[in-house]
């Protein structure tokens, strides 16, 4: 499945020069291949981000504006079929990220057959599309204890099932999954197109278990980005890990040699949480109470007691009465690395609004995505500080309703395929 389709990116650049589509495709490949490995963090908006590299793209890539995340159940029990799927996904993903159609294209294949590509991205730019593929814990051992693909012995210790947290209201239909694909792009249609085509390729081997659309990135993952606001109206991700902090990336995000099985070196672990916000009660909460709950000013994003957004939080400061300036139960305090043995996460979440629920309330919140080197000492540690009625004051206004844990294997070079280090 080579990227022989029309190069959408080149079509943009060659408006009016329709006859050059073939030549454009070839040029597009050259340019895409020329993107330096590991340069995911420095791509200009709208341009292709290479699918290839030491690490998978879509982790330290500056967070795009839109998300379509999908978790899949693997239906086949055949290892060769699973490998064939991963190879087909790799080829299609590399093509789509470079701005090409899948396979023989949407309009350039055999007209008597269904087109290989579904076509809704024709004429659209690559839009910074990244496709990040991972393996769920159930791929290694199902809830019933089955090891379908002979992987149980290769499961890293870090990849232990998440414990249940107090206050969790997890819907099994929105949780778990044997495989995941995180599609991020600056154009929602490009992200949806990618998931749709990968789901199509998977039919017969794997089927979507659930998927989530997201908009308005809620974290900046690069110092080049402004801090966005989440649906609570607060800046989110001010203290997030940033791609430019290479040493922190190696310490907190990328699995290092010696951490465990070598197949994960250069990879990362992804925790996804569908966090429903109870929008209506939150909206009717006074501003000072909202700021007490979060621990930051709503306007500037500065920590309470501070003046500027990026100022360090002084968790020890007290007011004239001796009470802490940042509340004992404030979200920023309990989530802060100093409250969690130095643990931090590379957060990459998106807001979602899936219409309204049966009661007419917004079905809205944060689709939390966080990358890390060891979920046990990072997400689990931090969320243990937050979860439960006696902890994070924010819990009055949020509820975790979906959860996933995925091993994101390292990136691949051209000619390789995602998962090769595990299955190859």
């Amino acid at each position: 499945m080579s990227p022989v389709g029309i190069s959408r990116r080149r079509m943009i650049g060659l408006l009016g020069a329709g006859a050059a589509a073939g030549a454009g495709a070839a040029t597009g490949v050259t340019l895409a291949a020329g993107d330096a490995h590991g340069s995911h963090a420095t791509q200009a908006r709208g341009w292709p981000v290479s699918f290839y590299g030491e690490h998978q793209a879509g982790i330290v890539t500056p967070a795009q504006d839109r998300l379509h995340f999908a978790a899949f159940d693997v239906n086949t029990t055949s290892r060769p079929e699973l490998l064939a799927l991963l190879k087909s996904w790799t080829a299609a993903a590399a093509a789509m990220c470079a701005g090409h159609d899948v396979g023989s294209g949407a309009v350039t294949g055999d007209p008597a057959a269904p087109p290989d590509d579904t076509g809704e991205a024709l004429g659209l730019a690559a839009a910074g599309l990244t496709l990040t593929i991972g393996f769920g814990t159930s791929l290694f051992r199902t809830a019933e204890g089955r090891d379908r693909f002979g992987l149980a012995s290769r499961r890293p210790a870090q990849f232990a099932d998440l414990p249940s947290f107090p206050g969790d209201a997890l819907d099994p239909r929105r949780s778990g999954g044997d495989l995941c694909v995180q599609a991020c792009a600056d154009d929602p249609q490009v992200a949806v197109h990618a998931i749709r085509n990968l789901a199509r390729i998977a039919r017969g081997s794997a089927a979507i278990r659930y998927s989530q659309l997201g908009f308005g990135r809620t974290s900046s993952t690069s110092t080049s980005q402004q801090t966005p606001r989440n649906l609570m109206g607060f800046k989110d991700g001010t203290a997030n890990l940033k791609a430019e902090e290479a040493a922190e990336m190696d310490k907190q995000v990328w699995v290092q040699p010696g951490d465990g099985p070598s197949w994960m070196v250069g990879g990362s672990y992804l925790v996804s949480r569908r966090i429903r916000m109870l929008i209506e009660p939150w909206d009717s909460t006074p501003l000072t109470e909202q700021e007490r709950v979060i621990g930051r000013l709503k306007g500037s994003g500065a920590p309470l007691g501070g003046k500027a957004e990026f100022e360090a939080i002084d968790l020890t400061a007290t007011d004239e009465s001796g009470a802490p300036v940042v509340d004992e139960k404030a979200h920023v305090r309990l989530a802060h690395p100093t409250s969690n043995g130095g643990a931090a996460l590379l957060r990459r979440g998106y807001s979602f609004v899936d219409g309204t629920d049966a009661l007419g309330r917004l079905d809205a919140g944060l689709f939390f995505l966080a990358y890390q080197r060891d979920p046990r000492s990072q997400f689990v540690r931090i969320n243990s500080s937050l979860a439960g009625n006696g902890n994070d004051a924010l819990n009055e206004y949020i509820q975790h309703v979906g959860s996933g844990l995925f091993a994101i294997p390292p990136g691949v070079e051209a000619g390789g395929w995602v998962g090769q280090t595990l299955f190859g």
Binding site: N75, T108, P111, A112, P114, R200, R203, G204, A207
Partner: protein, 393 residues
């Protein structure tokens, strides 16, 4: 029953019509010249807002490409009709100043080409006279000829069974025997569902047999199988249903008459096989079809069996040309049929509905329905490609 005009393309045309986007692939295949070996001709159609100029109205039998050029300001569509407005082919959504191709194979006879500016109304019509004998197309491979014969036998057999079952059902309804009518209704439905796309290609007959409550209009009252189903299972009254049953029986007999004359080719079989799976995905797995009796899984099985029959008839040729495709389809059909079998029921068991071997739709759990939907989608992808394999003769 659904959108009869659209679905009709796949069955009624002697060879399926293929709408090609004429843009962006000028250098790619022009299949009209290569797929059948018949004489191909291109006829320009200038489709304006108030005009519809067809370059040539007397044509030899064979495959023709109508090159539709929208010269108007409105989005347009072009239909090719056989007698009784049977749709042989169509191109829709042709924007101003764009060109699309409508490819059909026409036997001798009279046809009408209709341009529908604004995509509404009966359209501006031009009569086409087709004469002569087409060069023998498609079925030069004796295995394909055998496949067509085998499938024709199947369709005629199923239609005869449909008439017989409907005869018994009508008698029971008119005798006021609700229990007996309920036990006969599923059998009649099974035979209809096995040949559903063929029945749907007869756009006037299909709604009279298979319409649903939401298809009712001021001009078209609720009739047919589902009207009887509603009376039998929901409103529990058939004392006034005799005339509905009589009309249904008469229409199944009409169907039997027209089905005997319908043209069947390997390509219509391939498209019909896929179309049956689409029916499952659209109205069976969702539980829309048999909402009063809840025998949706029986309709589901009927569609799958009809689809598999057409596929199996074509299988020898497919196996030679695309062995890996056949391996995939064999496996996925058997997986789906095994999954259906796991939902069998019997008198006294959970979810039993009189006359159906499967559990009632509302006895299925959400996960069970989802598993069925996943398997249907799994077959649809590879099944969609068999038409291109059999059309390469």
């Amino acid at each position: 029953m659904s959108a009869p005009a659209r679905r009709a393309i796949t069955w009624a045309a002697p060879l399926a019509a293929i709408a090609l986007a004429a843009t962006a692939c000028s250098s790619t295949k022009n299949r009209s010249a290569t797929t059948t070996g018949t004489v191909a001709s291109t006829i320009a159609v200038q489709a304006g807002d108030k005009t519809c100029d067809v370059a040539k109205t007397e044509l030899p039998a064979g495959r023709h490409t109508f090159e539709v050029h929208n010269t108007g300001a409105q989005v347009t569509e072009v239909y090719l009709y056989a007698a009784g407005d049977r749709v042989l082919g169509e191109v829709e959504n042709v924007g101003p100043a764009t060109k699309r191709n409508l490819i059909v194979e026409l036997a001798a006879g009279s046809y009408q080409l209709a341009c529908k500016p604004g995509m509404a109304g009966d359209g501006i019509r031009t009569t086409l006279a087709v004469s002569g004998q087409a060069v023998a197309a498609a079925s030069t491979d004796p295995r394909l000829t055998a496949a067509v014969h085998s499938y024709r036998d199947y369709v005629e057999h199923e239609t005869a069974e449909l008439v017989d079952a409907t005869t018994d059902l009508t008698a029971a309804v008119k005798a006021g025997d609700v229990q007996r009518a309920r036990s006969l209704y599923p059998t009649a439905r099974l035979h209809y569902e096995r040949i559903e796309p063929i029945a749907e290609s007869f756009g006037e007959l299909d709604p009279l047999i298979d319409m649903r409550a939401e298809d009712v209009t001021a001009a078209e009252p609720f009739v047919g199988f589902h009207r009887l189903e509603q009376n039998l299972y929901q409103k529990n009254g058939i004392s006034k249903s005799g005339s509905v049953a009589d009309a249904l029986l008469a229409n199944t007999k009409k169907l039997q008459g027209v089905v005997a004359k319908v043209s069947i080719t390997p390509l219509t079989m391939a498209n019909g096989s896929k179309s049956l799976l689409d029916e499952v995905a659209k109205s069976k797995v969702t539980g829309e079809e048999e909402r009063y009796s809840r025998i949706d899984l029986l309709d589901f099985a009927g569609n799958v069996q009809g689809s598999k029959y057409a596929y199996t008839a074509l299988r020898p040729v497919l196996a030679e040309r695309r062995p890996e495709l056949v391996a995939t389809l064999d496996k996925r059909f058997s997986t789906l049929l095994a999954l259906l079998d796991s939902h069998r029921s019997a008198p006294g068991q959970k979810g039993y509905v009189t006359g159906s071997p499967y559990v009632a739709y509302n006895a299925l759990g959400q996960d069970e329905i989802r598993a069925l939907a996943v398997e249907v989608d799994s077959i649809s992808e590879p099944l969609g490609t068999i038409s291109s394999v059999v059309s390469d003769t």
